[in-house]
Subunit: 326 residues, 2 copies
Amino acid sequence: MVTIRDVAKEAGVSVATVSRVINGSGYAHIDTKKAVDLAVSKLQYKPNEVARSLYKRKSKLIGLILPDITNPFFPELSRGVEDYLQRRGYRLIIGNSDGKQEKEREYINTFSQNNIIGIIASTSEYNDRNYKDLNMPVVLLDRTTEDLPAVYADQHAGGELAAAALMERGSKEIVIVRGPITIKPVRERYQSALELLQNTEGVNVQVLDSTLSFQGAKSCAKELFDKYPKTDGVIACNDIVASAILQEGLRLGRLIPEDLQIIGYDDIPMCALLYPALSTIRQPAYEMGEVAAESLIKMINKEPLTEQHIKLDVAFIDRQTTRKGM
Amino acid sequence: MVTIRDVAKEAGVSVATVSRVINGSGYAHIDTKKAVDLAVSKLQYKPNEVARSLYKRKSKLIGLILPDITNPFFPELSRGVEDYLQRRGYRLIIGNSDGKQEKEREYINTFSQNNIIGIIASTSEYNDRNYKDLNMPVVLLDRTTEDLPAVYADQHAGGELAAAALMERGSKEIVIVRGPITIKPVRERYQSALELLQNTEGVNVQVLDSTLSFQGAKSCAKELFDKYPKTDGVIACNDIVASAILQEGLRLGRLIPEDLQIIGYDDIPMCALLYPALSTIRQPAYEMGEVAAESLIKMINKEPLTEQHIKLDVAFIDRQTTRKGM
C-alpha cells in the first residue's frame, strides 16, 4: 500500500509538505504542488479519509436511518435522498433501525463516530435523547418533532382525502384499518379519516388494528371480512395491507369496486401493477427524500432554512378499486 | 465536547494512560484502570471511533453494495446480511450502486477510506478493477467470479424448474421474458430455461427482452400480448415483471391459470398478496444474505472458508398462476 511517506520521497519533499498540499492547507510553492500532484498520480496514492477527516473535520458522508427497508415506501424515500446527495457530491450510507430504539441509537453512535457529517432520520418513534448532543445537523423525514427540522407529508389531509373519496363514491359501511398509532404520521391519518367519517350521517365506521408489514397483512385481511362482513369500503393503513384486503375480497367473490371499494396509502410502485390497480393516497416519497437532503445540506453549509418544518402535499390516486363517474 | 484530555485530568493520569486503558493496549495498574473508567463514566466521554480505529486499525463496520434498493429482492437480501451481523456485534451500512460501475466504485472508495473492514457486494456486473488492491475481505452476493468468495442461488436449476413446471402443466406456446443478459445470474436462468424448452418437442418458445424494474414492466407486458397473442405460458425474469404480465393478462380477459400460466422469479413478499397469487421460483434471499455475512466474518477473523463459492438451492413455489392436479 502506498503511504504518504512514499509520496514525499517521490516528490522530494517532506511528509508535512505533502499533507499541506493534499489538504489544501497552509502555504506551498506552485512547483512543490505540481511535484506532489505528479507523485500522487504516479504512485496512485489514495489519502486515508479517516486521517484527513481528523485533520479537516469534514467528510462528505451523510447517514440515513430507515425504519424498515423491506417496506417499499422507504426505498423510494431513500432514493430521493440519495439522488439529491449524489448530485451535490455527497454520499449516503443507510442504516435500518427496524423500528427499534436500541438499533437506532446504535446507528446514531456509529454514524457520529465515523465521519458522518449529518443525519436524516426516518425514525419510528422520535426520542430526543437519541439526537441531542449530537454535534451535527439532523433532519427528520416522514416524522416530526418540535425540536428538529422535518420534512413530512400532510397526513391530516391524507386521511380526509381517503374518507371523502369513499363517501363521495357511496360507501356506507367503512372499516379503517389503522397501523400502529405509536407512529405519529400513521396516527394522524387515521384520526382525520375517523373524524370525518364519524361526523357524517348515514355512515357506519369500524376500526381494525394492523401492522404495516407483509407479516400480518393476510391475517388482518381475513379478520376484516370475518368481523365486518358487510363492509363496502376500506381505508387501509398502507398499500401492503390494502393489497392483502384486495386479494381476500376477490377470493371471497366481492366485486371490486362495485361491492367493495379499497383505498391504500403511500402509492408504492406495486399499486399500479395490481388487478384491479389499487386506488391510494400518494405520499411523494421520492420528493420528500430530496427535500430532506436539501435541508440537511443547507444546515451543513450553515445556510438558513426558510422553513423548519416542510409539509408536502398528498394526493388521491383514483385507480380501479374505487368507483368511477361520481 | 468532552475530550481525552478532560478524562486524563479528571482521573489524574496522562493522556497516554487513558488511551492505553480505553484501547486495552499496554500495561495499566488496576487502580489506574478504575480511575479512568470512573472518569469516562462521570464525564460521559465517548471515544472517537475514527481516532481509535487509526490506532487499532479495527472497526465493526461492514459495507454492503446493492444494485437497486427499490427492487424488493434486495431489501430481503440486505435484511439477511444485517440480522446476521447484528447478532455478531457488527454494523451494516448500505450503498445503492444503481447498477452503475461509477457509483459502485465511489462506494468502494468511500467504504475503504472510512473504517469499513469488509464488503459484501451485490454488484451488477463484476469488474475486478473495483475490488483488487482493496486490502479488505470481499464477498460477492448474488453474483460470482473466479477471483472472490461468493454466495449465490442456483440459477441454472431455477431456469430449468420454471421451464419444467410450465411444460408439465401443459403450456405449449411459451414466452421467456428475459432480463438484461449482462447480469450473469439473470442470463444463466434464461439460458437453462431456453435450452430445456428448445429441446422439447411440441413446445414453441419465444424470447422477449425486459428490464428488472417497475419502470418498463407494464410496457413489456403489453408488448408480450401484442407480439405473441397465442402465449399460454410465461417465464418472467422476476416477480415485478410477472406481476405486470399477470395484470395485463387479466385485463385482456385471459383465464389464469387455465388459459395462461405465469411463473415469476425471486419470490418477493408481494407474490403471496396478488390475486391469483403468483407462482414463482424462490431464491432464498434472506438466507443468501446471512450466509454471505457469515463468510465475510470468517474472513475478517482469518478463519478458513470451507467453500469459496456457496450455491444455495432455489425452489418452485406452486401458487395460483400455475395449474393444479398435474
